[in-house]
Amino acid sequence: MSVELPADAGAQTPEEIADLLGDLVIGREEHLNAPGFVIKPDTVVDALRRLRDQAGFDHLSCVTAEEYEDRYESIYHLTSYDDRTQEVSIIVPADKENPVSQSANEVFRTADWHEREAYDLIGIEYDDHPDLRRILLPETWQGHPLGQSYDQDQPQVVPLREHQNPLLEDQKADNDSETMYLNIGPHHPATHGVLHIKTVLDGEQVVDLEPDIGYLHRCEEQMCQNSTYRYQIMPYPDRWDYISAGLLNEWAYARTAEELADIEVPEYAQIIRTMGAELCRMAAHFLALGTFALDIYGDFTALFMYSIRDREKVQNILEDLTGQRLMFNYFRLGGVVWDLPEPREEFFEKTRDFLDELPTALEEYHDMMTSNEILQVRTVDTGVLPPEVAKSYGATGPVARGSGIDYDVRRDDPYGYYENLDWDVVTEDGCDNFSRLLVRMREVEESAKIVEQCIDLLEDWPEDERNIQSNVPRTIKPDDDTEIYKSVEGAKGELGIYIRSDGTEKPGRFKIRSPCFSNLQTLPEMSNGEYVPDAIASLGSLDIVLGEVDR
């Protein structure tokens, strides 16, 4: 499918969008981040296509589904790759008795999985959806767990099936060629966790590949909906993207909830957050490099050890800062939980030492990885992901930037202290596995630049203005029926959170938009027609983390 260039990419006022949608609009809502337009369930494709082609809303960031007392509702959160601050929510109510809504899969390919998830967890059925099956829960699950009438105590039966070759019969009928069905995972070292990939091979080549997820679906949304805003939710984001990217995830929740409850964050705390988040990004990218090398070279090689060595250094710094190696729980709504460790000079010195050694370490990585012929042969021009395909699948983060899409939430929808610092968004035009690797390596350098500037600022910060937390009430109860969708740039891409408050101290609906979930969807596009090891390399280059894919 192709995405045409928008007729005019300029900023759209809500009135212009209303004009564009015309009589499709049957109601208006106001979300804190964007205007919301209510449309009929059978006009989804029409509305989304108009917005994409004529108003430049070419990024379907997330689909949120929810069951209300009197209706079901799907919300399509649209934004633009060119201008992240342009946002619009398309709200599609569906009948309570017979919740059917049109699928957006025709306009945005990413809607495929998002709608399957909505079907799985909430129970909305999507018309014209190519493959409406459960995605996170086992196929024999009874009931829709985030729906209102779900009984959590009912027994469930989960089969362990030997999977049959889905293509064999068809192929036999036509010609002599034989395909082979290959299960990769769910327990396999190359899947970076518990991912199951159903692969159909023709000789050495992949003809069909389907990621089967849900082996780590641990109900993160339910957990957050059962927890209070003030303290109880914050530990959970650490466990979405658990590759040391905890602070980045915490920031996603902090940003959304702070905007929802109108909480100020002191500038000093923002700098600490920015520094911590970038350290996390470095640690996450180091692991991505190490495991990518592991996928390519196939064993615990030197590179893996090097990346773990550098991660240990970052984790030591983060441990000094937060008290934890992996699950930091360091952010609080309105700031951070405590100030820099004392004596501060020691902390700064330690961090500077790490940054000073980093160029040498990166040189080593380049010597052993990017300038290594074996790796080049394996990665250059394999797993090609053209930019328009990446956009249609809602790819973000290093995956999008490796396809030349200049998109980074840190710059495009600034938060924290990023806009006051000097750094660049890294992009590469190769669209292949090698480009994605390069993007990550160069992003480590950019993160180092940011951390360095933050340290300089923190060192010279006036002693009496070191305010780490604003005055936040003990209990937070945002107004009833306030809705917000906000995102930050996580280690893997755009990590968004949708919260609808219901007037209590717990969220009414808490939806996580995981960058890996969308990125993983591009895997079949990248791998079909490639050799098996290249498919594995592509999977490694996506740098997924299953905790975030499955949530």
Partner: protein, 251 residues
Amino acid sequence: MDAQLAGGHAKNGATELMSSDNHQPFVTDSSKVGTDTREARLSGQDNRFNSRLREAFGSSPFILTKFDKFMNWVRGSSMFMLQFGIACCSIEMMHTYAVKHDLDRFGAGVPRASPRQADVIIIPGTIVSKFAPRMKRVYDQMPEPKFVIGMGSCTISGGPFQEGYNVVKGAEEVIPVDIHVPGCPPRPEALIYGVAKLQERIANGESSPVTVKPYELEEFGDLERDEIIDQLAEEIDVDDLVMRYNWGDSP
């Protein structure tokens, strides 16, 4: 372990000959002894060829021990771990295998990718309904004797996700667990302590009692028929292996 093993031997054999005022280069608890033959054997050897074991053996080419005891000691001293990652804890597990913590120092640092080559499985993370049958299958594929280390709170009780609709409340609902390492996630040091404790248990010949687990893999046709089984009868063949979760009975 080697000290204990050899200590038993020394007591059987040369105890009477020991004298504590004998100064020799490699003194260990179990062999504060020196005999002429031992002295002769040790002298002239480069130090690095000596070990506590060798020193304890002295000149005797024989070990007197029970075969079982010997096997247990061997098992504990050379454990092949399964390369098995589930969730957050697997990141700390990788750190434990890699530089700095280097689990290989304790004879347990060779992760094997195939369950058929492994004898210890570390369960590093949350087990959910879809994964538990697969984990059980992986466990079943490991050769006997096999040992299980549960890493992190999720494998103890479901941890922070205990109330989730999809989360199995601990690894012990599915497979037997020898050692629980608490933490969310446990630090690498904690995991190493857990591994050392397991080695100790194996060397002493201890193992967890085999109990019937609440969730087993069974053929669908063997399940007791009730409402949910009737509903699913069309979707699942009678000889499909299934795992039935009775969430209401979970802790």
